[in-house]
Symmetry: C2
Subunit: 507 residues, 2 copies
Amino acid sequence: MSDNTHPLDPIFHPRATAIIGVSSRENGRTSFLGSLMEQDYHQRHGLYPVNPKITEVAGLKAYPSLLDCPDPVDHVISQIPAHAVSEMVDQAIQKGVRSIHFFTAGFSETGDAERAAMEREIVGKAKAAGIRLIGPNCMGLYVPGEGLAFMGGFPKEPGNVFLLSQSGANAGDVVGGLSRRGVRFSKAVSYGNGADLDAQDFLDYAANDPQTEVVTAYIEGVKNGRAVFEALKRCAAVKPTIILKGGLSAAGARAANSHTGSLAGSVDVFEALCRQTGAMRAANMDELHDMVVALTTELKTVRGRGVALVGGGGGFAVLSADAIAEEGLDTPPLPEDAQEQLREFIPVAGTSVRNPVDTNMMGGPDGRRRMRDTLTIVANAEPIDLIFATVGGWGGRGPSPTGDDDDATPSGTTGDADPAMQGSSGSPAERAREAAGDLGALQGRVGVPFVAVQRDRGPSSSDASRAFLEEAYFQGVAVFPTVSRAARTVGRLLEWRGRRAGLPEIL
Amino acid sequence: MSDNTHPLDPIFHPRATAIIGVSSRENGRTSFLGSLMEQDYHQRHGLYPVNPKITEVAGLKAYPSLLDCPDPVDHVISQIPAHAVSEMVDQAIQKGVRSIHFFTAGFSETGDAERAAMEREIVGKAKAAGIRLIGPNCMGLYVPGEGLAFMGGFPKEPGNVFLLSQSGANAGDVVGGLSRRGVRFSKAVSYGNGADLDAQDFLDYAANDPQTEVVTAYIEGVKNGRAVFEALKRCAAVKPTIILKGGLSAAGARAANSHTGSLAGSVDVFEALCRQTGAMRAANMDELHDMVVALTTELKTVRGRGVALVGGGGGFAVLSADAIAEEGLDTPPLPEDAQEQLREFIPVAGTSVRNPVDTNMMGGPDGRRRMRDTLTIVANAEPIDLIFATVGGWGGRGPSPTGDDDDATPSGTTGDADPAMQGSSGSPAERAREAAGDLGALQGRVGVPFVAVQRDRGPSSSDASRAFLEEAYFQGVAVFPTVSRAARTVGRLLEWRGRRAGLPEIL
């Protein structure tokens, strides 16, 4: 933490946490208690389960009430019903608690006037006593650096992405889905109804958080439009900020109203908000994930629309070229001298060195060298701004004579079933990791970003795929599940960069 | 097989197959030999590896030449280089072979005039002798009923979908990808350059094949436009026929020209072709997969745009409603009486029974009953034409008090982290299978199609996800990876049905 701490800093760094309403049967990953223990929160800080009916749970001493917990209790997670909350807040005030996260639902989001009034009363009381509230109706905090988490299975290592989300399920999808793509988080917060702390507060915190480099948000509605606009503008001016707005359709708005009590906003208004603030708009959850991957890898440096597509086989290359064109990028033919150089690697070359480049790069140390040479030649070609490299088939699938067999007579080229970019030896996972390392090293050398498009053809190759993905992301290479999503993301990134003219350069 | 057999029937049912140019090191799934043996072809028919340098491979006797193989040899797979093919064809004529599949590449697709002439000469010679050719530059046949396969890992059970594909890699993607979604194939053929047997021949065969109910094709170019038009028209008149055309963009057309020597065609021309013949156009590979799933499950009976979205949690429901609207479908509010009935299941209901319906259906026998009751009420509501049911979380993830715990005080509703649609007991895979069975039984009873949208949150639940998917598809329930793809598919299906006015009803 830097010297000039943000007012919300204590909320993201609680020295002790009490969970009110813990069940004796709460276990592992399906509870807040289990999620915090999985992150070793209890080994670093105080962790106090509260329930008058039990004395112990999961090896931890349980306390009859919040007032019985040891001092200090900085943070409270409330999983008691709405009608019991008011009394608990009184105890929290007495205890000197700094923040309460209400998992508890059943407040303003129900649309019931009485329950909305109850929410207002609780917020007023807590704020008057200097307690900040997260929620109600939300999952709360994920701070890997402190061992806070709201679901099981989240990575323990902190990263550089900050997430704010009105929805707990969507927060879980973002953290879970992006973690599997290699991304790590500085902090994530699911804040539900936003009765006290709201989008503008978290945006302001993220903008100033030294551990955060990229900010992303899922928002359904805002109570204070001007405050959100200003906070978003400040945040997007200094860090790439990606927003997904839920409830842009009539049916979605109805659902958002049921969910967090949010009111509708139109696509146009939201689009204008992004345009004016310099934020990026994600049209759906996949786009949000893809943009975060792009903005946390070398892909963020991409400057033009010229894609070289390498590997993947004939029919795949055809559909990929179509998909790239569909998203407004090009697959320009390589210049004649680059084609000449490539022909030395490709036996019966025909025109498959033009771009897409359909090389056979599998098998043996030769394969690794051919891969490096091919990518270097392609990267240096004038019209190429980035390279899509098809990877996969780590287990080896499909007939693919490689031409190094004494008995067999190789069939010229190998048809179009060849997995590209295989490493030279070891298990599929080792080969995958090696190939990812090669791509990372090469990307650093050639000066144009790579995108690895991972064609995972079945469960058998999933270990290798995960190994590839982890290593590639670690090396700063963006990995995408399809050419189409990669191309769309690049298109959006270039469009966003164009729109930022006049704003400070942040990439 | 029926009495009036099609002229191409012998090609899909060879009594014996020779593979020319087999290596002594060919193994398992990465070779034609291994793929055929995996399917037990050699236990049902003659399988003869040919290579003068070896005497045995994979436990099978190898023969020095085609002429040395036992009689009959109906089918030949050629994996020798292009320059050696002519002599082999002479031997095939002498041997009385009926069909040759040329994996061998290096013919007209290279753009080289000499190699194109060589292709013409071979085709002419073979056809004059009554031999039909598949290829060159392709993967050939997958006929599970006969034990023919061109890649390892393909299902052994036959099904009702026929695939023709100019690309071997794309044929592999279709068979592999759709197999994982439960689909099974009557036959699949990758035919590459189509020098002899071409799209029109396979479409004609598929139209008449009694084992085939749905036809799908990946096509890059056609030599005889009129013949393809007529064959497509005949096929689409009697069976749902889904076409994906590669090379519709300029860059894609360039790649297609390199790949199969195909010439470009525009989107408009292709769209018009589909419109005039009654075929369905798939815009990309995902759409092709999705449409095959839709047309081989009860989803094919869908008649309107009113979607009920059940389960999945608040934020997910909001984005889902947006995605459904984006694809031109509706999520209409349920009528008041249906909402009344649903309120009995949903504790602090608020408006989450309107549609999307955000029920908590997990845990215990109660959960199964609640699920059935909820879906029955929703299905019977007037504006509902189909139901999207969110499934997943089989391992149980995220805090989710269920309200049946004596110690804990449940928090009213459960926030939005609940996995819906969990079965009652057993392992995650058993629960998943049970839930799929329930959905299938219920779909049969209520008379509107279900779509299960599978939210697989991580590798831990993949066994259960697979179990769910298999059982659901077996029961006639379409499973989709995202709401967006499901909605798009339904939109396309309705549009296609509308366009078929005047053509015979085939669904």
